[in-house]
């Protein structure tokens, strides 16, 4: 009996002396990073990182939190992140980081592959961190600007992208893990949201401005936010947004179609060394009459609007693909991946000169638009 107690006490003592709190870290002893901007100094070839962090000292419960920027330079990315610690008291903490801003220049000249590889291996950085491209001179400028609602620009950017798809459908979010995957998927193409700065009520604020498209991991082109909708039509990522068109001959866009649902299917066929892509979109819309005459919308008008919208979608999609074939010279739509998914053997044959094959691709677009209702008024 006493032996047992003696042993238990000894084990407990031994256990207590052996254990420490190795991973214990106070929640207030961390510098919470909300976003990183990655730039590169062209002269020194050093990375210049800007961290947006939450300043616990300045924040109060009543007024919400405040952010501050921390800068660091270093030879490579992980080194730079460590260097930042030299300037702050507490360890940098990345699990709540929402946005990575990559500068235009790095994306264009160097590619983002190295950055993504470095970041995805980190245990703290989450796989669902957003990657965006800064269209400004440096990435830092985006984080330096103030968001309209959220005290943290990084969070603001994240929310803008999250909600974009349902309202305007002008961009496709890119998560860290998706970027990692896409770079390794045969024939797939990388697309990232692009941001620029605009003046709003005298304050400079970041605004979503379409998408940047990549060849491999290098940025090659920006698609503005009007064309990007049709890019999303091809990618089957449209969930909202508006198509405006005119049904009379005044040339004014008198009708707005609010997209409520869209489904795109893509098929390919292979004949005589030529790929033919068939794109079919089925779109459900709500019709909003924006003309000045007060007249109930009848079946005729609706039919007309549907037809017009269909041809508009077809036209724009064709234009965009033609642009990719002629101006951009790259398969930005991931048609190669479509081929690979369904016929890996054919892909093996075509993959070496896919760029040439892509130039020759024939496109067949059919579109179906259905007006589901006309809002509150007849």
């Amino acid at each position: 009996m006493y032996n047992k107690i003696k042993w238990t006490i000894m084990t407990l003592l031994l256990g207590l002396s052996l254990t420490g709190c190795w991973d214990y870290i106070g929640i207030d002893e961390m510098t919470i990073v909300t976003g990183i901007a990655i730039d590169k100094n062209q002269q020194t070839q050093n990375y210049e990182l800007t961290f947006e962090t939450i300043s616990l000292m300045e924040s109060t419960k009543e007024e919400g939190f405040k952010t501050k920027l921390i800068e660091a330079t270093g030879k490579n990315l992980l080194d730079t992140i460590r260097n930042a610690k030299k300037r702050v008291v507490d360890k940098l903490y990345f699990s709540d980081m929402k946005t990575i801003v990559i500068s235009n220049e790095i994306a264009k000249t160097e590619g983002i592959g190295a950055i993504i590889n470095a970041l995805i291996g980190d245990a703290e950085i989450r796989e669902k961190t957003n990657i965006i491209i800064s269209q400004e001179e440096t990435a830092k400028q985006i984080l330096n600007a103030k968001g309209i609602d959220n005290p943290s620009t990084a969070y603001e950017v994240r929310k803008i992208i999250d909600n974009d798809n349902d309202v305007t459908s002008s961009t496709k979010p890119l998560f860290l893990y998706e970027a990692f995957n896409t770079l390794r998927e045969p024939g797939a193409s990388l697309v990232a949201p692009a941001f620029h700065l605009v003046k709003n009520d005298d304050i400079i604020t970041p605004e979503l401005n379409g998408i940047g498209v990549f060849k491999d991991d290098k940025l090659i082109y920006y698609i503005d936010s009007i064309d990007s909708k049709y890019f999303l039509f091809i990618a089957d990522k449209v969930n909202g947004g508006v198509i405006s068109l005119s049904t009379d001959n005044s040339g004014k866009d008198n009708i707005a179609l609010k997209i409520s649902e869209n489904r795109t299917s893509k098929k390919y066929s292979y004949n005589n060394n030529k790929i033919k892509i068939e794109i079919t979109t089925i779109t459900k819309v709500d019709l909003h009459d924006a003309s000045d005459r007060l007249k109930a919308v009848g079946k005729k008008e609706i039919d007309e609007a549907e037809k017009k919208a269909e041809s508009l979608i077809v036209k724009n999609i064709k234009q965009l693909v033609a642009k990719a074939q002629k101006e951009i010279n790259t398969d930005i739509f991931g048609f190669g991946n479509l081929v690979y998914r369904h016929d890996p053997l054919l892909w093996k044959k075509l993959k070496n000169n896919w760029d040439e094959v892509f130039m020759e691709i024939e496109l067949d677009v059919t579109s179906k638009v259905k007006v589901m209702n006309t809002g509150f008024t007849k």
Partner: protein
């Protein structure tokens, strides 16, 4: 050497004790009244409560006798009327061989009379409110039952208050308690067996069970364990509980307890055995299942949907009260990534000015809560009820405002404290496991918490009560085995008794059940 001496001393003491005991056991009475009385006086020397009253018959002066009793335990009216009066004025007393029987049968007008020659019996009876009648010339005495104890009236037990259902509670007097049970079970199958515990206290206890339902294996196991008890005195049933426990170091209970006769009857009907102890309003029931920790008598008196819901709440309450502090700590100090960002920032802001590390903060606050709780229970009724609430609000709010503790911590501690009140029967495991998990998650985070929980799960699964597993997980989840566990099935579905306790399982005839449907 010192050890030897100690042992020798102990041996001598043992010898003396056994001599005294033997003298009581073997000592016999004398023929002579005088000798008997002086022997009794010797036994009860320095005991002023012990009173001897000598009596002589008016018509037969050769008949002399004496009664001995302890003051305060007897009913003087009955002694006067039924013992002394007939002995004095009866004309019918003759000194012959059958005198003692004659007295018992014809003279003394009492309902309960026993004969004995053993001194030990005399001592035990006289200290329990009996009157001893010594008769000159006879080496035998009569034990006359004239007990009258002052006892509390039947009230509703404080600890088992209910909204609906019987409110009677046990008191500290064994016969009353037994009567409460007997009254509710009017069958000859209900058995009562007297036992006594304690060399000094000689406390009476009674084992009740329903013959034909009870499992004899459990009954013999119980007797075996009770027989092993060698103690100077038992004052409350908890003495017995701990002496006959299965997993001795376990904080869990292995016997059930209640203060309400209706609960005891319910348990007896399920095939359990009840132990009623004199001097304690708490009645033990064995064997004990783990789910009984979450059951209350009200479960069976109220609507089954509601009580099932409440029972699930209690089970969750137990789970929460042991894990929530540790889980909170693991998240705050190890897995901050589990916190949604806004919450994370808020907690970080709250914690900024707090001087103590989270673990210490938690332990201090939990202790404060327990102090308040304990103080509230011990305080006089008027203050007691308001104290915990006022204390918590004042201390909590003031502490948060003074930035001594973080706000979320108060929420966690209060939540834990209140959920632990849901299951008073598990207060020991809650205290122990709460702290254990807290320390583990301080060192190893969520992993430590899981290790601790695994330990608790295995420990709990291993619990036994009188050789029967407290948790029965064979994997066969039949409705009849689940019906009174995590939920309470309606009465018309409770057709069987628990399989582990009894072999006579059928409790409701099939046809009757159908009629009820």
């Amino acid at each position: 050497m010192a050890k030897d001496r100690k042992e020798q001393k102990k041996k001598i003491i043992d010898k003396k004790v056994s001599q005294i005991n033997n003298s009581l056991n073997k000592g016999t009475l004398f023929n002579n009244l005088k000798d008997n009385l002086s022997y009794m006086k010797e036994l009860f020397v320095d005991d002023d409560l012990f009173i001897i009253r000598e009596i002589e018959n008016n018509f037969n002066p050769s008949f002399r006798c004496a009664i001995a009793y302890c003051e305060g335990l007897i009913n003087p009216n009955i002694i006067n009327e039924s013992i002394i009066k007939p002995l004095m004025i009866s004309k019918n007393i003759k000194k012959d061989d059958t005198l003692i029987d004659h007295l018992a049968k014809r003279i003394i007008q009492l309902y309960n009379i026993k004969k004995t020659k053993i001194i030990k019996d005399i001592v035990e009876s006289v200290t329990y409110g009996d009157v001893i009648l010594f008769i000159d010339g006879i080496a035998e005495v009569l034990i006359l039952n004239v007990k009258k104890f002052e006892a509390r009236s039947l009230t509703e037990p404080e600890n088992e208050k209910i909204l609906i259902g019987p409110r009677e509670g046990f008191i500290e007097f064994l016969p009353t308690n037994l009567s409460l049970i007997r009254r509710r079970l009017r069958t000859n199958k209900l058995k009562f067996k007297y036992l006594s515990f304690g060399d000094k206290t000689n406390t009476q206890a009674c084992i009740c069970y329903i013959d034909g339902i009870v499992d004899n294996k459990i009954l013999t196991e119980l007797y075996k364990r009770l027989k092993k008890i060698k103690i100077d005195g038992v004052i409350d049933t908890n003495y017995i509980t701990e002496l006959i426990k299965d997993n001795r170091f376990s904080p869990y209970r292995t016997t059930g307890y209640t203060e309400k006769p209706d609960v005891v009857v319910g348990k007896l009907l399920e095939g359990r055995i009840a132990i009623v102890l004199d001097g304690s309003p708490i009645v033990l029931t064995i064997p004990y299942f783990f789910v009984e920790n979450f059951q209350t008598s009200e479960d069976y008196y109220m609507n089954f949907y509601y009580t099932s819901f409440v029972r699930i709440l209690r089970i969750l309450g137990y789970f929460f009260s042991i894990t929530v502090p540790a889980f909170y700590l693991a998240i705050i100090a190890f897995h901050q990534e589990l916190l949604p960002t806004p919450l994370f920032i808020n907690i970080a802001l709250e914690r900024q000015t707090v001087p103590l590390p989270t673990t210490l903060e938690m332990i201090v606050l939990l202790t404060v809560f327990d102090i308040l709780k304990e103080a509230g229970e011990r305080m006089p009724k008027g203050i007691g009820q308001s104290l915990p609430i006022v204390g918590a609000i004042v201390i909590g709010q003031a502490a948060v405002e003074a930035k001594l503790v973080a706000g979320p911590m108060i929420i966690i501690v209060t939540f834990t404290g209140i959920t632990s009140l849901l299951i008073p029967k598990l207060n020991a495991p809650i205290i122990i496991f709460q702290i254990m998990l807290l320390l583990l998650s301080t060192t190893l985070g969520l992993f430590g918490l899981t290790i601790g929980l695994s330990y608790i799960i295995i420990h709990t699964l291993n619990l036994k009560s009188f050789g029967i597993s407290q948790i029965n997980l064979t994997g066969e989840f039949k409705y009849q085995t689940l019906k009174d566990t995590i939920f309470r099935a309606p009465w018309w579905q409770m057709k069987k008794r628990p399989k582990q306790i009894t072999k006579n399982q059928i409790r409701m005839q099939q046809t009757e059940a159908k009629q009820n449907v």
